[in-house]
């Protein structure tokens, strides 16, 4: 059913349709509306049977999900930012134990300095944790990816993170087609666990594993993700057949077939990028884009074949590997290794800085002219940065950087952008 609905509410409704049996919630902006929505749905008896548990921390939230999943219940939680870091130990544990939990990440920056706005640093910090990571471009895709995520998680017995841009998607009202219960039931069968805490057939889960077997356990986690590279397109295809919508899959090329410049990105910024690509293509530029929907496992082959004819690749990413540069770009570089193509990293939108058409247009023109550096920071206020560097050089006790920068930038409440 078509609805004009907030992203978080749409995600909550999608989760509800997946018949979760245990939902654990700990509030963190911008994830709150999702779990609030689910809590109300459970209270109203719209999700049944389901246990909605308010816990004392994100660490507990995922731990409850771990226990519930190991005991055979379809388990869900959601978090963001600091919350994801606080549960980091359990994040690795859930995947190490092979428990098919689905978790929404309302992508948000990581502090300090504390910042509630969107970027991808949180989920990318967990890229090696063994969780599958799917990135939604729109709220429709966020809804659809959650339905696919449970299927994917349970078929492989691997946990899945569905990453949804905080505020930009979670708090945006837009048109979303919410599927019918019967449709979801036909796509997503009941959870059949591979391992179960069952008094009739007692098993030990979580035993100490020494050097003699640890590598093999880890290898199999990798093997399962390699299987996911095959399964994800199949599930997306089946989804399209049943729901009539193209959602998910490994990658999504856009006007990139014979483009000289291809822009690569994760998540909602792909929408803005497509608008700019259309505009520049119409003006005669040879440019296209590539959305990476499945970031873990990283679809090396698909990315390589989508990029192999390009003259240059521009990775616009909302993340920064401090001390080296891009995170996504590093993986893209590996995908095109040996093809001798420049891969430019453009760090953009950190801490919620808007990625505007204006800025992208200028960026792509410079890319087209071959003027991009290896690593760039989109819309960085260089004057402010230089001012602070000068301050640090001038005095030993130059004070806290973040607060100094805020002084330089001035009052934000009076600014539109």
């Amino acid at each position: 059913m078509l609805k004009q609905i907030e992203g978080s509410q749409a995600i909550a409704e999608a989760i509800g349709l997946c018949r979760p049996e245990v939902i654990c919630a700990y509030p963190i902006t911008p994830q709150t509306h999702i779990v609030e929505g689910l809590g109300q749905m459970v209270d109203r008896g719209e999700i049944q049977p389901c246990e909605f548990i308010n816990v004392e921390s994100e660490f507990a939230a995922l731990s409850v999900a771990i226990g519930a999943s190991a005991a055979g219940a379809r388990s869900y939680t959601a978090t963001a930012s600091q919350g994801l870091l606080f549960m980091a130990e359990a994040v690795y544990n859930a995947s190490g134990l092979g428990l098919p939990i689905v978790m929404t990440i309302g992508n948000r920056a990581i502090g300090a300095p504390i910042n509630i706005w969107n970027d991808h640093q949180d989920s990318l910090s967990m890229r090696d944790s063994g969780w599958i990571q799917l990135y939604a471009e729109t709220n429709q895709e966020a809804v659809d990816l959650h339905i696919q995520a449970f299927r994917l998680a349970e078929e492989l017995s691997v946990p899945v993170m569905v990453c949804v841009d905080g505020f930009i998607l979670t708090h945006a009202y837009e048109r979303v087609d919410i599927p019918a219960q019967a449709q979801v039931d036909a796509y997503l069968p009941p959870f059949e666990p591979r391992q179960l805490l069952d008094p009739i057939h007692p098993v030990t889960i979580g035993a100490m594993v020494g050097p003699e077997a640890f590598m093999e356990v880890r290898y199999l986690a990798h093997y399962k993700q390699m299987q996911a590279l095959g399964l994800i397109p199949e599930l997306a295809e089946e989804f399209q057949q049943q729901f009539g919508r193209d959602s998910g899959d490994l990658i999504k090329p856009y006007r990139s077939d014979d483009a000289d410049t291809i822009v690569v990105a994760l998540g909602s910024v792909n929408g803005t990028i497509k608008d700019v690509v259309d505009e520049l293509c119409d003006a005669g530029m040879s440019i296209g884009s590539l959305a990476i929907c499945t970031y873990r496992p990283f679809p090396h082959k698909a990315v390589r074949s989508a990029l192999e004819h390009a003259k240059r690749i521009v990775v616009v990413e909302k993340s920064l590997a401090i001390g080296i540069g891009g995170i996504v770009a590093t993986d893209v570089q590996m995908a095109v290794a040996g093809l001798h193509k420049p891969v430019h990293t453009v760090v953009a939108g950190l801490g919620g800085r808007p990625i505007t058409r204006d800025s992208l247009r200028k960026l792509f023109h410079r890319a087209d002219a071959g003027h991009l550096e290896r690593l760039e920071f989109l819309d960085l206020k260089h004057d402010v940065v230089h001012e602070e560097i000068a301050r640090m050089e001038a005095a030993r006790r130059s004070g806290p950087i973040a607060e100094n920068i805020l002084h330089s930038v001035g009052t934000v409440a009076s600014q539109i952008r």
């Binding site: 004009q4 505020f167 945006a172 009202y173 837009e174 909602s268 803005t272 808007p354 539109i416």
Partner: protein, 193 residues
């Protein structure tokens, strides 16, 4: 694509206004997108919300930088925030105030901006009268409907009933209708729709 930027203060229903506007557009079969300025602002702080309306899917995710219409829920912001930044040359301006434009110090604006695109309505007063609380958002959307003709009152009523329930919804609809009538009466050419 038609872009709207709504300025107000935390607690004034700025975000709800943008959401109701997007629902109204949806009801009319259009694509629309509403989102807040994503702050952690508390009550009273300047806040913004945005709404885009289009006949086709909206992919753009930047804030509304070049609005086709501005809704200003609190005229006190006129002198604190650069509200008119990026406004289209013939963009609509709807201000919640019981003062005139000249009293608001906007005389100079009138000289360069087409008069039929500007309207001032006492939306908070209307809200007090019909709803009992000075929450001007529904009334302003009624005024917006009259000023721009972009959405019809019928769709707006449906949207108001989605965000509010029962008596409160009907009271807000009454406020919106009163605002619609007021704006329509003051427009030089009457209702453009």
């Amino acid at each position: 694509m038609f872009q709207v930027r709504i300025h107000g203060r935390g607690g004034q229903g700025v975000v709800t206004a943008a959401e109701m506007l997007s629902i109204a557009a949806f009801v009319e079969g259009k694509h629309s997108q509403a989102f807040p300025s994503f702050g952690s602002e508390r009550m009273g702080a300047p806040v913004m919300a945005f709404c885009r309306i289009d006949a086709k899917e909206i992919r753009l995710r930047e804030p509304v930088l070049t609005p086709d219409a501005l809704i200003i829920q609190d005229p006190g912001l006129l002198h604190q925030v650069n509200l008119f930044e990026g406004l289209a040359e013939r963009g609509y301006i709807l201000i919640n105030s019981n003062h005139s434009l000249s009293e608001l110090g906007l005389d100079t604006f009138l000289q360069t901006h087409p008069g039929e695109r500007i309207s001032v309505i006492p939306a908070s007063e209307l809200a007090l009268k019909y709803v009992g609380r000075p929450l001007p958002n529904a009334a302003l959307l009624g005024g917006f409907s009259a000023l721009t003709g972009l959405i019809q009152m019928e769709a707006l009523q449906t949207a108001i009933r989605q965000k509010f329930s029962g008596k409160i919804a009907e009271q807000n609809i009454a406020a919106a209708q009163a605002a619609f009538a007021q704006v329509q009466a003051t427009l030089p050419g009457g209702n453009p729709c």
